[in-house]
Amino acid sequence: MKRQFSRRKFLLYGGATLGTTMLLKACGSQPTPEAQSSASPTTSASPSSTIKVGILHSLSGTMAISEKTVVDAEQMAIDEINAAGGVLGMQIEAVVEDGASDWPTFAAKAKKLIEQDKVVTVFGCWTSASRKAVLPVFESEKNMLWYPVQYEGQECSKYVFYTGAVPNQQIEPAVTWLLKNKGKQFFLVGSDYVFPRTANTIIKGQLQAQGGTTVGEDYLPLGATEVTPIIAKIRAALPNGGVIFNTLNGDSNVAFFKQLKGSGITPDKWPVMSVSIAEQEVQSIGTSYLDGQYASWNYFMSIDSPANKKFVSDFQAKYGANRVTDDPMEAAYIAVYLWKQAVEKAGTASDLEKVRAAALGQSFNAPEGKVTLEDNHHLAKFVRIGEVQPSGQFSVVYASPNAVKPQPWSQFVASTKGYTCNWSLDRPDAGKFKMGST
């Protein structure tokens, strides 16, 4: 009797301990790179000789798929800077927080980073919803956010630097290229949140202005995988072929492309242009489903330049040879270096007004080419359109000859037409004012 009892207990305790251990180990494995980065080159560094920065991305939940890779890129940039002697002679210490794909959590963690950890800047966010959630925090704390992902524009905050593309550097050139090369009839598919809805408003405005038509528009909830009804609508709206413009984000893309192929909607008659599918996503969707489809970005892993070759080989050496690099990762990498240059020019990391002023006009020889931070807190970037190859890489079918200047306020939306943003001017409405007005 006694023995049986203890065995039963043992199994219970054993099971519980096993579970806890796995959980702890799982949680414990994430901050490791951070620990390494802060401890590696100068172990004797006293607390006063480090600069604390925050990294705020989703490490769990539906967005972890994408955001984890951006954290890797940011940490690589920080490690590189630390190995080269740090900033102003000080090492950078990264405090990593998990936004958990939940927008209120992002706001709470941003507050925690600024108030408790006293970070001088935060690199973070992926979805526009999370950026909109943390924006009030950064504005009231007067802190600094570096946002690394292409987004819908229509925003220009003094407290945010945007290193991803705005619509005129990604979506608008893609629509122009499609109208010229692929067809005039567009079906718009997107996830149901702020980025796709705003992007589609811009696309509809642009199509109207440039002679295209929108034959349909539909949205899927984030994470939804049942796309049968949307495919039925596409078949009905575009019976003889046409362009599908895809602003789906996250897992829904996998479902969309897998089922698109099954329904016989192939890229020869129905080319799909995506703005959220990069090398990382191609890998997890499977190239056989994407072969011949298009994507518009500023950076592709296949770009043939010395800066990019070094970026790719460094990244693979650090995280594994089967890893890929993509546009948001490159933008995040740029963000860390631009911040470092701004701090060095300002001579201080903690006087954020000075850092902000010093950041304007900074250039960086990025993997995509030489990018410059403009007065509207956005980057002048190169625009590229790529076609998916069976290898999973993109072949570039269009590249802008020069870096395209960012226009955060869309010129194809009636309510923002003619507006611009310039934080080098000392005026109360510098974030949004009519062009030419004083």
Binding site: K9, G15, T69, A224, T228, P229, V254, Q259
Partner: protein, 383 residues
């Protein structure tokens, strides 16, 4: 017009069959055993990852191997998920029968552990876990029997072994770096490429029937038929039904209820694994896969009526067809522009809004029939 209607019907049935396949395992576990298993979705995820592993080991051989790996993946996924379910039942749920709230919380915890396990599993972690298991086994077989009157020593042993194993795993990871510390799967999704014949479709008039959908519909039918035959015709099926109807009487009559519980749970979990394989043909394979299906599967079982397979079938098909009917915008098309209802249905003709109206209809339905479409009858219902 007829072809449009048939098309909609086919789409609705294909949505429904995915729902049904995912809910089938839960219909057994929740419906027959009354266990609220929040980790059901994660068992599906395990099935999908098994498919990925089978694809990588056999699909790489190319040719016939790649074309047919799915037939090997399905039984493998069934076995792996059934084994996972068996461990879950033996180590966790067995102690919580009759305590639905605790079961719910415990299985939810297990689901989180499984998700995070898939994200971070690497060789260093596996080395640690295997070492820990080996140490515990050694302790149980060789050391503990000698301690006799000191049962608490075994707990110390387990904890100490855990610490040692953790240390060895961490040290090995530190020493060999990426080779051991690179995650097997990672937080990102993995690519499951269906064989070529499942990627295309069968052209039919001006549209094409997706082969993956046809495959899932037939797979669902086969699973359903197999399950029916097992429950109705086999001796173990008879025992399962007996335990479901009256546990204490079955025990009195000599049915080993513990074994029946384990078997039922393993069967339900195995079906979840098969469902995981199937949905990997349609969507992404990532650690969150289970989360996307868990709500829908519970919905199907609740609407259908607990303890009844027919209910789940009817509920899944009804929900699938309704969802497609609303969101594909077919209703306004049929009603024409003049009908006053057209505006109403147009408003609900997007995917998100269709979900809203389907959920609203389910809530209304459950107000009328709280026990679902086919409620269980008899004296033992409340037991």
């Amino acid at each position: 017009m007829l072809s449009v209607l048939l098309d909609t019907l086919f789409d609705g049935i294909s949505i429904g069959s995915v729902l049904l396949l995912a809910a089938l395992g839960l219909a057994i576990v929740f419906g027959l055993m009354g266990v609220i298993n929040m980790a059901h979705g994660e068992l599906m995820m395990i099935g999908a990852y098994t498919m990925y592993l089978v694809q990588n080991s056999f699909g790489g051989l190319g040719g016939v191997w790649f074309e047919s790996y799915i037939f090997l993946a399905l039984p493998t996924a069934f076995l792996v998920a059934a084994l996972g379910g068996l461990m879950l039942e033996r180590w966790v749920i067995r102690y919580l029968y009759g305590r639905p709230l605790e079961t719910l919380l415990a299985t939810w915890g297990v689901s989180l552990i499984l998700q995070q396990f898939v994200r971070s599993v690497n060789w260093a972690m596996v080395i640690g876990l295997v070492l820990w298991g080996a140490l515990i086994l050694t302790g149980r077989l060789l050391v503990w029997p000698r301690w006799g009157n000191l049962p608490w020593m075994s707990r110390v042993w387990v904890i100490a072994a855990g610490a040692l194993a953790w240390g060895v795993g961490a040290l090995a990871g530190e020493r060999f770096g990426l080779a051991l510390e690179e995650p097997w799967f990672g937080a990102e999704g993995v690519d499951v490429n269906a064989p070529d014949w499942l990627q295309g479709g069968i052209p039919l008039g001006d549209f094409q029937l997706p082969a993956s959908r046809l495959f899932i519909i037939s797979l669902t039918s086969i699973c359903l038929l197999g399950l029916y035959l097992f429950l109705q015709k086999s001796p173990w099926g008879l025992r399962i039904r007996a335990v479901t109807q009256n546990r204490s009487m079955s025990a009195c009559l000599g049915i080993p209820t513990g074994t029946v519980d384990a078997l039922t749970f393993a069967l339900g979990s195995g079906l979840a694994g098969v469902a995981g394989c199937a949905v990997s043909l349609l969507g992404s394979v990532d650690p969150n896969l289970g989360q996307e299906y868990i709500v829908n599967t519970f919905m199907v079982v609740v609407v259908g009526g607990v303890g009844n397979l027919v209910g789940s079938v009817v509920a899944a098909m009804t929900i699938g067809i309704l969802q497609d009917l609303f969101s594909s915008g077919i209703l306004p098309l049929l009603l024409g522009d003049k009908n006053p209802l057209t505006g109403f249905f147009n408003f609900f003709a997007t995917d998100s809004m269709a979900k809203v109206i389907v959920f609203a209809l389910i809530i209304i339905f459950l107000q009328v029939r709280p026990a679902g479409m086919f409620p269980q009858k008899g004296r033992s219902v409340d037991a």
